[in-house]
């Protein structure tokens, strides 16, 4: 049976892939394996998508379950290698661990959305300065803009984030992104 990938499939994938990786990562702490589990969940979903409601919370729920179940199975079969962590009781997840991993993922998704809603130019500068750790001059060279423009855009981004996040809680984060 072949799967025909529709445009909408890619949308779903783009919307939830990082989240599923993050969820798996919080449980197993390994980037490569986290991506494996996330990809397997999507592949399983695409295969079954005709049987599953297209209501988004249901799709998301299916993906979470799929990642979770595969991780639990993997742990069960992987016990011998992990015997040390097992004797300390470290690797046994209960509902609280799973729920909290979902909560963390959901919160991170929303924080990322807020960042993604930044005006385009601002976001690009944000990405270069934060995610790639580049300095003002470097960004200015790369984008062919003046250092002053970069500073203005950073200030604009800072104002925007301040209007979206509680400044009392997030002052440190904001200054890390924009002021340095």
């Amino acid at each position: 049976m072949d799967v025909v990938y529709r445009l909408a499939d890619k949308d779903i994938f783009e919307r939830y892939y990082k989240g599923m990786c993050y969820f798996a990562y919080t449980l197993i702490g390994d980037y490569a394996l986290a991506e494996d589990f996330a990809q397997d969940a999507f592949i399983a979903y695409f295969k079954k998508k005709d049987e599953i409601s297209s209501h988004e919370p249901i799709i998301k729920s299916y993906l979470y379950s799929s990642v979770k179940n595969n991780i639990l199975n993997w742990h069960r079969r992987n016990k011998v290698q992990k015997k040390y962590w097992e004797t300390t009781g470290f690797m046994e997840y209960d509902d609280v661990d799973i729920h909290n991993a979902i909560i963390e993922t959901e919160v991170m998704e929303q924080i990322n959305q807020i960042i993604n809603e930044l005006p385009e130019a601002c976001r690009l500068i944000f990405k270069l300065s934060y995610l790639e750790g580049k300095g003002n001059q470097e960004i200015a060279n790369e984008l062919n803009l003046s250092v002053n423009t970069i500073k203005t855009q950073k200030r604009r981004g800072l104002k925007y984030i301040q209007s979206k996040l509680n400044p009392e809680l997030f002052l440190g984060l904001i200054s890390f992104f924009f002021i340095k």
Partner: protein, 401 residues
């Protein structure tokens, strides 16, 4: 079919808590919502830790880095290129079966190895170096790993090594004072010798071609008495090693591991193959990594690792991957498991972790490895919410109260 998985998760409760936390972050919570959040966080220490983590800017900063480490474009290419999804799904279960087989073989090997090493030489046992504590908080202290290894010759002879050695072309093994301490040249045919670096030890040596090798704790290397033929071939049976390979285009240097082979002409690179996975990181030059299923070329500052049976290439954090060779502990968004595996290897302690600690919390920090354990613990305690106590070789970790 459909409802079976629905029941499993995303209860209203989880969804709600996430929304309230985001509202709290935005400063828009009602009094009732604050109440609900407080009740939730009091219900379990793990809830409290999660909430604190999500309200702490340094934690969030690290979490954002994790979030953005994943790349959906590359992943989409991989997922959508499977025209039939049956293959990858089977791949998963095959991988699981494979892990089970490896696990049982591993168990036998470990059992065999324990019996074997015990029988061979009980003096090999590596004891953590327990000393009196100079810090009132700890009952005792433990000194860092020392230089040392065992050379197991093909003849069965064992040579204890306590400092760097050089293996000469004529098979003579020289110590730092240029004294001959062993001779590998007795047989005409090429035979393999073994270098074993146990827990709480590290070692460096030079091969006959001038290549320099750093070997981390818990590692085992096999190398020939001389490099004859078209290649210079050595095996990293387990553990971690860093190679500075002397250039020789006529005789490529090949490092073989259980997962993949690495072929180079002259270059600097790290190979790690402990039981939790194979990674090779390139500092300089160019190397080719391959196994039966795939083949990859990696450039400097990139690493290759296994995904299922296939090798994939990513950008590497050179400082982090080579930290051990530069004699530092360098943690960057590492979870407790990764941090503690390194501590165990280096100090020979057994870590006992309190169940209320969450594996997803990550830690960052940098400290020289050449210090007593108490200094590492002080650093970690200062930068994290962890509390340590040390009793003999048992290291207990619980949340700070």
């Amino acid at each position: 079919m459909l409802f079976r998985f629905l029941r499993l998760n995303m209860s209203l409760k989880t969804d709600n808590i996430a929304n309230i936390i985001v509202k709290h972050i935005q400063g828009k919570c009602t009094a009732e919502e604050i109440d609900a959040l407080t009740r939730w966080s009091k219900a379990d220490p793990r809830n409290e830790a999660l909430l604190n983590g999500l309200l702490d800017t340094t934690d969030i900063e690290q979490k954002l880095m994790v979030w953005n480490a994943f790349n959906e474009d590359k992943a989409w290419q991989q997922v959508s290129s499977h025209s039939s999804p049956i293959y990858p799904i089977r791949r998963t279960s095959r991988r699981l079966r494979w892990i089970a087989v490896v696990a049982s073989v591993l168990l036998l090997l470990v059992a065999g190895l324990i019996i074997y090493t015990n029988r061979l030489n009980s003096a090999d046992k590596t004891m953590p170096r327990i000393v009196a504590s100079t810090h009132p908080k700890y009952k005792n202290d433990i000194l860092p790993a020392v230089e040392g290894a065992t050379l197991l010759l093909a003849s069965g002879e064992k040579v204890a090594l306590s400092s760097e050695i050089t293996i000469e072309d004529n098979g003579h093994v020289l110590n730092q004072d240029n004294d001959k301490i062993a001779d590998l040249s007795r047989s005409e045919e090429v035979v393999y010798h073994e270098l074993i670096v146990p827990q709480t030890h590290f070692f460096t040596f030079k091969l006959p071609d001038g290549t320099k090798v750093w070997v981390n704790a818990n590692s085992k290397l096999r190398f020939p008495s001389r490099f004859l033929g078209d290649t210079r071939h050595i095996q990293l049976e387990e553990g971690e090693a860093y190679f500075e390979v002397e250039r020789n285009e006529k005789q490529p240097f090949i490092v073989e591991t259980s997962e993949a082979k690495i072929k180079v002409l002259g270059t600097r690179f790290n190979v790690k193959n402990y039981q939790h996975g194979f990674v090779t990181t390139l500092a300089e030059g160019s190397v080719e990594v391959y196994n039966d299923h795939s083949r990859q070329k990696i450039r400097p500052r990139q690493k290759a690792f296994m995904r299922g049976e296939e090798l994939v290439v990513r950008e590497a954090d050179l400082k982090k991957d080579l930290a051990w060779k530069n004699n530092i502990f360098y943690f960057r968004n590492d979870n407790l498991k990764n941090v503690m595996q390194q501590i165990e290897n280096w100090y020979g302690v057994q870590v006992v972790v309190n169940k209320s600690l969450i594996n997803s919390t990550t830690y960052s920090g940098e400290i020289e490895r050449d210090v007593p354990l108490s200094e590492i613990l002080n650093m970690l305690e200062f930068t994290s919410g962890l509390n340590f106590s040390l009793e003999g070789t048992k290291l207990y970790i619980k949340p700070k109260k």
